[in-house]
């Protein structure tokens, strides 16, 4: 996705750093959640857990899946 540098207007810093709007807003939301007091803070942080396994497919052949997870993998 090409970063849309409009007619002379400056690109915001996060766009220049390669982040999408989504990752930018996620980071902001994380900061807001960390501002809470206990016990609301731990409740809010449970709403932030990420876990999925993604694998790219290259012309019909699946590559090795990578797991994006906040929870530590138990082996």
């Amino acid at each position: 996705m090409a970063s849309a540098v409009g007619s002379g207007a400056a690109v915001p810093f996060w766009r220049a750093a390669g982040m999408t709007y989504i990752s930018y807003s996620n980071i902001c939301a994380n900061m807001v959640r960390n501002c809470l007091k206990e016990p609301f803070k731990s409740e809010a942080l449970t709403r932030e857990k990420v876990h999925f396994s993604i694998s790219k497919w290259d012309n019909g052949v699946p590559q090795k899946p990578t797991i994006r997870s906040d929870t530590p993998e138990e082996d």
Binding site: M1, T20, Y21, I22, S25, R47, E48, V50, F52, S53
Partner: protein, 357 residues
């Protein structure tokens, strides 16, 4: 005449029959059919059949564990077998009932969230419109399905719609790719559309669904896939018994610009004032990304609701079927039990009368 009757009964009870080894082979009376006499031909026919243990049509004489020919005239169905069958069917019924309860509780938990998440993408539709008939070069179809099975036909309908969309949007210069969420759609799409799959995402529901997870996912998709239009296929949850396969279209900012020039809803975008130091292209890009994330979030939640609802109804019909099967087996069990008792009685009585007479 006897064989026809036996064949009829055999077709019903064939899987359940084991012969009780009885030493003396004699033409004892069969309770249900009254006194029948067997001709020599019948006996020869039966002894031939003992070599063949076929179930189903016609032949009903299985080889028992002791390899003895089941004696003439005694249809001996072991009650033990029917009892075992009844026990296993009852267990299955209990399990499916429990699964239905679990699905119902999960549905309750997730339903309110899905309905609330509808408010996330509605403003986008008001602003940018949802135009599934847009004609673009690079289409990406995001198919959402479940990881677990036993949920009725919702995954198959999603895949069917995805394939239809694929056909609809492919053409000479156009390309369509799949991004698959969930194991079930992956298994189905792998069969004939392997080349078109771009990304596969599984294990999405390990933690309860939240926006952060879906937005990270959306980010991954946006980074890895080139697109002009993203079409998200999912099952919208209308009620516990009704799941409608729907598709939402999210356009890339360049396409939005192009469509804005064409007029229509997007053409009104220019009437909005832009605050801050950003350009329209900037804002459109942010909006497009955010729109995709919100629509995907809603789609994943709705699909999860539909999955639980479909599982509820599937398990419900399964327990009902198990109940029916249990009733039929109970009847069979009682019938065999009474037949065995009657056989014993008649043997005793005929033996006693033979002694006297």
């Amino acid at each position: 005449m006897a064989m026809a009757a036996f064949r009829r009964e055999g077709r019903r009870f064939a899987p359940l029959i084991t012969p009780r080894p009885i030493a003396a082979v004699r033409s004892s009376p069969i309770p249900e059919y009254g006194l029948l006499h067997f001709t020599v031909f019948d006996f020869a026919f039966l002894s031939l059949q003992s070599q063949y243990a076929t179930f189903g049509h016609g032949l009903w004489l299985p080889k028992g564990p002791s390899n003895l020919l089941a004696p003439l005239g005694v249809r001996s169905i072991s009650t033990q077998i029917v009892r075992n069958r009844m026990k296993s069917v009852k267990n299955i019924q209990k399990i499916t009932k429990a699964m239905k309860m679990v699905a119902a509780s999960k549905l309750r938990a997730i339903q309110t969230r899905a309905e609330n998440s509808r408010g996330l993408w509605q403003p986008f539709t008001v602003l940018l419109g949802d135009s599934p008939s847009v004609d673009v070069k690079k289409n990406v179809i995001v198919t959402i399905s479940s990881d677990k099975g036993l949920c009725g036909g919702i995954n198959s309908t999603s895949v069917k719609i995805s394939k239809a969309l694929h056909k609809f949007t492919s053409g000479p210069e156009k390309g369509t790719k799949y991004v698959v969420l969930g194991e079930k759609a992956k298994a189905q799409l792998m069969r004939d559309s392997k080349k078109d799959i771009e990304l596969c995402i599984t294990e999405l529901q390990k933690n309860p669904l939240n926006y952060t997870q879906v937005s990270v996912l959306a980010d991954e998709i946006l980074k890895n896939v080139e697109y002009d239009a993203l079409r998200i296929v999912f099952n919208k949850f209308r009620s516990i018994i009704s799941f409608v396969p729907t598709t939402s279209t999210v356009l890339s900012p360049e396409v939005v610009e192009r469509e804005a020039e064409a007029g229509g809803k997007l053409g009104d975008l220019d009437s909005y004032e832009i605050e801050g130091g950003e350009t329209k292209g900037e804002i459109l890009q942010n909006l497009a990304e955010f729109q995709f994330s919100c629509v995907l979030f809603n789609a994943v939640l709705e699909n999860a609701c539909s999955e639980q609802g479909a599982r509820m109804s599937a398990m419900d019909s399964s327990s009902r079927n198990a109940g029916d099967m249990l009733d039929r087996l109970t009847l069979t069990y009682n019938r065999t039990r009474q037949a065995a008792i009657t056989t014993e009685l008649t043997e005793i009585i005929s033996g006693a009368s033979a002694l006297e007479g």
